[in-house]
Structure formats: C-alpha cells, structure tokens
C-alpha cells in the first residue's frame, strides 16, 4: 500500500524524483583552452563563437539557427530583462539585472541577501524550470571575467551555453553529441 502511494506521488510529481537541491554548493569554476571552430565565426556583440562546420540551413529569427544533419543544430538567442519582465526583481531583489538573476540561479553568486520567500522561489525555479540539481552536469567557466555556463539538460536533452553579461544573456542551445557542444564552448572568445 505504501509503495503504491509512493509510486502515485512520483507519477503525480515527477520533479520530486529528479530534483536534488545542492546543499554543498554548485560546480567549481573551470578553465578551458580556446580552440577556434572550423567554419564561420558568429558575432554576439562583445563575444563570438564559431560554427564548427558548414550547416545545411541557416535561419535568422531574433538570433540564429544553424541546422545540421543527424538532428544536430546550434541556435543563439539574446535574452534581456524585458524577456522575463518584472519577475527578475521579485526573485533577485530590487534593482537586479537579468545577469544578477542568472548568477543566482546557477549558484555563481550567494543567495544570502535574499529573504526566505525569495530563496524558496529561487529553489523552485532551479529545480522545476531550469532542471538544475546535484545530478546535473553544470559547468561554470569564465572568459575575461564573464561567467559562461555549460549545462546538459535532461528534458529536452540539449546542451545550453549561457554567456552571462549584466544586462543580457547570450543563450546558445546545441543539439547533438557532447563533443559537438564542446566544440562550440571552446570556440567562445571575447572580440
């Protein structure tokens, strides 16, 4: 009876079985060696990354979508505070930028200044929306002082690369094998 009840709970609230908040903190920051990509550089304002090979199709829709064979793709979208409206300040505190919010979400900055309700909301966002828990592969890098997140998500299974500026997030999503995503990551540099 108890086992049936537990199964029912897991089916109703699958996040219970996946979410495991990190009590000991998030991943430490790492370094990587820059390696230029084999095809075109893509300019993102102050940063750039390279396409690793010639895509089959390119689409420009408030960003970039490069489509490759075998279900692989690379897309870029710029995210600004307007994209997520007034929720930024309600979670990260007044006068916060979108960069402040993402640094909190990925554990780059401390949440000690947040109130109890804000922390609860942040934890909820991490687990339910961003799929971040101790079992997830989140890697943190810095390029010229700017945090860069490399995150393999479960659903959908994609690789997310976030360059966290203060007022803008460069969001790069890569579908394909990890080696394909790593090529993109290593090609990021300041222009």
């Amino acid at each position: 009876m108890k086992i049936a009840a537990i199964w029912a709970l897991l089916l109703l609230f699958p996040s219970l079985s996946l979410a495991e908040p990190c009590k000991s903190g998030f991943a430490h920051e790492k370094n990587f060696d820059y390696m230029p990509g084999a095809f075109l550089p893509v300019s993102l304002g102050t940063f750039q990354f390279d396409l690793p090979a010639r895509p089959e199709r390119l689409a420009s829709v408030n960003g970039l979508l490069a489509i490759y064979s075998q279900g692989r793709s690379i897309s870029h979208q710029p995210l600004s505070k307007e994209e997520i409206s007034g929720d930024v300040e309600s979670i990260a505190g007044s006068k916060s930028s979108i960069g402040d919010l993402y640094k909190l979400i990925y554990g780059i900055t401390s949440e000690s200044h947040l109130g109890k309700a804000q922390r609860a909301r942040l934890l909820e966002l991490r687990t339910s929306l961003f799929g971040i828990d101790c079992k997830n592969a989140v890697e943190i890098y810095r390029i010229n002082g700017t945090p860069v997140i490399f995150h393999e998500t479960r659903t959908p299974r994609v690789f997310e690369i976030l360059i966290i500026h203060d007022k803008l997030i460069d969001y790069i999503q890569v579908k394909g094998p990890k080696s394909f995503a790593t090529e993109i990551l290593k090609s990021i540099k300041k222009r």
């Binding site: 089916l11 996040s15 199709r57 689409a59 829709v61 408030n62 979508l65 489509i67 793709s73 897309s75 979208q77 995210l79 994209e83 997520i84 409206s85 007034g86 929720d87 930024v88 979670i91 909820e124 966002l125 339910s128 929306l129 961003f130 998500t153 959908p156 994609v158 997310e160 969001y171 999503q173 579908k175």
Partner: protein, 108 residues
C-alpha cells in the same frame, strides 16, 4: 506533415504561436509533432506555476494527442489564449528553451 486540427483550430494555434514568437510563426507548419511539443511546453509552464488544472486531462504516457478527445484539444487551444495563471518567467523561459525544437517541428 499534417495535424489533427481543423482549419479554424490551426489558425487559432498559429495566433497563439505568433503572440509567443512574433510574426515568423505565421508561416510555421502546424502538425502533430509541433502540437505535442506545445502540450509539453504548457505542462512545463504550469508545473512551474503550480496550476495543474490548466492542462487538458488525461495526459499520462505516450502520445498526448492520442489520449485527447478532439473536443478537449479544441478547448486546450482556446485556453492557451488566456495565460493569466502562468508566471511570466515560467512562460518566457519555456518559450526560449523550446524555440529551436518548435522551429524544427514547424519545418525549418
């Protein structure tokens, strides 16, 4: 690829997609794969917003479209126009995370 929707519902869904992603969505090919992705996205928005009553029932395993009566699918699309119970951050984050998948579903 075609969809399970009639012309009117396809146009209603296209209107919702345009409000989410801008004019580019007006030319997207509405098909069952794309509708399945949208159902999953709305579920993610609602999981985040703690308002499960908004999701058409029953959705459990497998292909949600096969479990939905046509009338429920019509109601689901109509309810998509009213997202007042969804937190903006939940909606926008789900939208940007799923944009590439939707564009691929839509025939890019």
């Amino acid at each position: 690829m075609t969809s399970s929707l009639d012309f009117e519902d396809e146009e209603n869904l296209r209107e919702v997609l345009t409000s989410w992603y801008g004019p580019t969505a007006q030319n997207w090919n509405i098909n069952d794969k794309l509708i399945n992705t949208i159902i999953g996205m709305v579920k993610d928005m609602l999981d985040c917003s703690h308002t499960m009553s908004y999701v058409p029932q029953p959705i459990s395993f497998g292909n949600p479209l096969s479990q939905l009566a046509r009338i429920e699918l019509k109601g689901f699309i109509n309810r998509l126009r009213d997202d007042s119970r969804i937190y903006v951050i939940c909606k926008k984050t789900v939208l940007y995370k799923n944009r590439t998948t939707l564009m691929e579903d839509a025939g890019y």
